[in-house]
Amino acid sequence: MRILHVEDDEDIRAVTEIALVQLSGFQLCSCDSGAMALSLAQAFQPDLMLLDVMMPQMDGLQTLAALRRLPGLAAVPAVFMTARLQDAEKQQYLNAGAIAVLEKPFDPLTLGQQLQQYLSRPAADS
């Protein structure tokens, strides 16, 4: 499975990389900003996009909207990851086209399983 990860915090990127690459055996494209994601996404052709919400310059919502406009990325499922989960915000992220919202701190031991679960269930159910 190919995962495009957008996260401005380098340490979180490191933990995520171990969890997804080393433990789950996924292929990961790790980006430190929305801009970087936009430049790499098309070539990477991800199966799922994992986005942090609070980022400088382009936040997660803006990044997702921009990625979706790229050829071949319009239908790729997206999952948000946030430390700031208010109920109203969760609904807002789902409305923006995410299939799930993950809360930080997350459990790196089960992250791969969770993403796999999201992909295998019907899109409407979040």
């Binding site: 915090d9 340490d11 979180i12 490191a14 933990v15 995520t16 171990i18 969890a19 080393q22 433990l23 609070m54 430390a83 700031r84 208010q86 109920d87 930080k104 701190p105 997350f106 459990d107 790196p108 031991l109």
Partner: protein
């Protein structure tokens, strides 16, 4: 034709005629009798008594002629009055002065005329005349007869005048008599002797004494002295004797004994007449029956004796003199002087008045005197011991003919009411002070008060409201419409809803935005309740408005801060917790045992930190009332099963068994599933943590009348008694050692309590140290019928 000339003494002649009051009066037999006699005796068809005034001859008596007057300038009589002689025309047609006279040329076709002048008071006022339509000549005898008849007419005129005068005299005498009889008093003239020998006494002595006036004249049947009530006689005689000696008049009151034995009060004013030698000739006097007045006075006295104040008359003369002609007995009580002491001089009364109030009192009296307006004044009076009393007086002034002013009034001791008034005034001042303080406080806190009538829609605002709403107080009239116009469009419905609720619950409580006239937006918090006005039973709403803009802004800032903090805390925590989790999983390689032990402890504490952050945020939301609840019917069985399923791994760690007692199928409760699960997880994890290994934790549900009761029971250590009272408090934990061992944030039960209460239930526990604990909570049941 020649008109008669006017006599030289015409003015006097006319005056004499007018004085007779004969002109234009009705016919009288005394004159008609004579003219008829003349007609017979002298055998003449027309006989007239003709009176000549300025313009005409008018006939007082006439025989044989219809007309009652003819113009003077064509009259024959006008000529006849010019001399004392008989004026005779034998044939008018032959006389150039009369030939063309219309009375000759036309009816009555006068040919013969003979007129004897009538002379009264040396003035020829008219004639007795004969007229015939054929020529004729009187014999000397006939002329003498005519003259005699004229004299008889003159005599009748004079007699008539005298009779008339007599009648007038009689009429005026009758009138005078009537007047005298109607005078209420009795006038008399008597000799200065002990008997009061009457020379004259008017008839009205009769109703007073029961004896006619004639009885008293010259002591014919009785003396006046005999009707004076004996006990008063000596006093009367002494006073009169003294007045006579001093040549004064006297005014005395005494009683007269009526024939029927009753006593009548009279007032007599009299004076003596002296002769040239200074001897008394007689006494003249006037006796007035004052019995009715006296009775009224007595009634008044009785009446005023019972009044708490003084009824009085106060009179002030232009020269500054003043007196109390009348004052009721209570005067003594108020001013310490008797009515008699101030009857002639008011000074003693003023001596009793408090020196500080004297000037004000004098000027109020002066004002009343000048304007003749009712006098009203409150002032103090000091008694001999210096004790001060408050008086209130009011009196109506009346201007008297002698230039003085007479007040009729009433003075009342108002000390008691004045004192309570002063106390009230003081209380009012304090109240005013308190109000001002409240005003100041409410201004500083930007709290305004308002009151609205539900009936009329009238609205009253305290000054702070104008300030909060940004209105100029002087130019703004508060109204419900004005208030509504300030509402932020997005909050209108919210406010209307709260108002509707207030009509039912009586309480209005809402925070909303307003838009000020300058466009700025402010947050206000309104609280009000509906009360019934004690005065008119009207329902009114009284409320307060506080400007909470800063508080709201602060709240928003806090929300923002918490959100930021939680993000800033969670990001590093994600890394720490994630890294430790990965390392401790052993999948990245095996660590030395000592390192492994430390890293496990680090991981457990990072998990506690994560819980703490979540609990803190939950608690914050609950306290702020911002925790959203999505309440819906939930299957109890399914909810319990889910909770057990979630906690099973945790229970396994502690070697504790979770048991669910089967629940009646179809049992539903009304709650937010997320928050119900949160509560169950909290209670279950607590029970697990405090259970001994290999023990059981039981989960049960029981239907109550309108609620479902859920119980979590363990066989653990129980809750120490000392801790039981604080168990639902925030950050309450039995001891720090326990916290270290069992983990937990100290917020769990406080959050559970808040969650359950917000969902309409109750939470509690039963516990005894060493015997385990049972936690329970209730939630509203979904009625199966619905």
């Amino acid at each position: 034709m020649q008109a008669p000339i006017t006599p030289a003494n015409e003015a006097q002649r006319l005056q004499a005629l007018q004085a007779l009051k004969l002109l234009d009066t009705a016919a009288e037999p005394r004159f008609d009798r004579l003219t008829r006699l003349v007609q017979q005796c002298l055998d003449c068809p027309i006989v007239l008594i003709s009176l000549i005034d300025e313009q005409r001859q008018w006939f007082k008596s006439r025989q044989g002629l219809e007309a009652c007057e003819t113009p003077r300038d064509i009259s024959f009589c006008g000529h006849a009055i010019l001399t004392d002689q008989l004026f005779e025309i034998s044939d008018a047609r032959l006389d150039p002065s009369f030939a063309d006279n219309p009375l000759v040329t036309a009816a009555p076709f006068i040919r013969f005329y003979a007129g004897a002048p009538l002379t009264i008071n040396q003035q020829r006022i008219g004639t007795l005349c004969l007229i015939a339509p054929e020529p004729r000549q009187l014999t000397p005898q006939q002329r003498q007869n005519l003259r005699d008849f004229a004299d008889a007419v003159e005599q009748e005129i004079i007699d008539r005048l005298q009779e008339q005068a007599e009648q007038e005299l009689k009429a005026s005498r009758d009138q005078y008599q009537a007047l005298v009889n109607n005078i209420p008093g009795i006038t008399y003239r008597c000799q200065a002797d002990p008997n009061w020998t009457m020379l004259y006494i008017s008839g009205s002595i009769d109703p007073l004494s029961g004896y006619p006036a004639s009885d008293f004249i010259q002591n014919k049947l009785r003396s006046y002295a005999s009707v004076i009530y004996p006990p008063d006689r000596e006093r009367l005689e002494q006073a009169v004797a003294q007045a006579i000696a001093q040549r004064h008049s006297w005014t005395l009151q005494y009683r007269v004994q009526h024939r029927d034995g009753s006593l009548r009060w009279v007032e007599e004013r009299g004076q003596a007449e002296y002769d040239d030698t200074g001897q008394v000739r007689y006494l003249d006097g006037f006796i007035l029956d004052i019995n009715a007045e006296k009775q009224l006075k007595q009634q008044l006295l009785n009446l005023t004796a019972h009044l708490p104040g003084v009824v009085y008359q106060y009179q002030q003369w232009p020269d500054g003199r003043a007196a109390f002609p009348y004052a009721s007995a209570a005067l003594k009580r108020i001013y310490g002087v008797t009515p008699e002491q101030v009857k002639a001089d008011a000074t003693p009364v003023f001596a009793a008045i408090h020196e500080e109030d004297l000037a004000g009192l004098a000027s109020s009296i002066e004002h009343s005197r000048q304007q003749l307006l009712e006098w009203r004044h409150e002032y103090r009076v000091k008694d001999l011991n210096g004790k001060v009393a408050w008086m209130a007086g009011n009196a109506t002034p009346e201007a008297m003919p002698d230039g003085s002013v007479l007040w009729h009034g009433y003075i009342q001791d108002i000390t008691a009411s004045k004192q309570s008034f002063l106390a009230l005034q003081q209380a009012n001042q304090q109240l005013q002070l308190a109000r001002e303080r409240l005003d100041t406080a409410s201004e500083l806190a930007l709290i305004g008060f308002w009151q609205a009538s539900l009936k009329t829609g009238e609205l009253w605002w305290s000054p702070a409201i104008f300030q909060i709403f940004g209105f100029d107080e002087a130019n703004t009239t508060p109204s419900v419409a004005l208030f509504k116009s300030t509402l932020h469009p997005d909050d209108r419905q919210k406010v209307a809803l709260s108002e509707q609720q207030a009509l039912i619950s009586g309480i209005h409580d809402v925070s909303h935005r307003i838009i000020r006239p300058d466009g700025s937006i402010r947050w206000v918090h309104e609280r009000a309740r509906i009360v019934t006005d004690a005065d008119n039973q009207e329902r009114i709403m009284v409320g307060s408005v506080q400007d909470i803009t800063e508080r709201v802004q602060l709240q928003q800032l806090k929300d923002e801060f918490i959100a930021t903090v939680s993000h800033e805390l969670r990001t590093p925590l994600t890394v720490i917790k994630g890294a430790l989790s990965l390392v401790n999983s052993g999948q990245l390689g095996v660590l030395p045992a000592a390192s492994q032990k430390l890293l496990v402890a680090a991981q457990q504490n990072s998990e506690r930190l994560a819980h703490l952050i979540n609990d803190l945020l939950d608690m914050e939301k609950l306290v702020a009332g911002k925790m959203p609840f999505l309440r819906q019917p939930l299957q109890v069985q399914a909810q319990l099963a889910q909770a057990v399923h979630e906690l099973e791994p945790f229970a396994a760690q502690y070697q504790v068994q979770l048991e669910v007692t089967p629940v009646e199928s179809g049992l539903q409760l009304w709650a937010d599933s997320l928050r119900l699960q949160q509560t169950l997880a909290n209670l279950l994890s607590n029970a697990i943590k405090f259970s001994k290994p290999n023990s059981r934790v039981q989960l049960r549900a029981k239907p109550l009348a309108e609620h479902i009761r859920i119980e979590v029971e363990d066989n653990g250590l129980g809750i120490p008694e000392a801790f039981q009272a604080r168990i639902f408090e925030r950050f309450a934990q039995a001891d720090t050692e326990q916290r270290r061992q069992k983990g937990g944030t100290g917020l769990g039960l406080a959050i559970c309590k808040a969650l359950i209460e917000q969902m309409g239930g109750e939470i509690g526990f039963q516990s005894a140290a060493g015997q385990g604990t049972l936690f329970y909570f209730t939630l509203p049941a979904v009625n199966a019928d619905k």
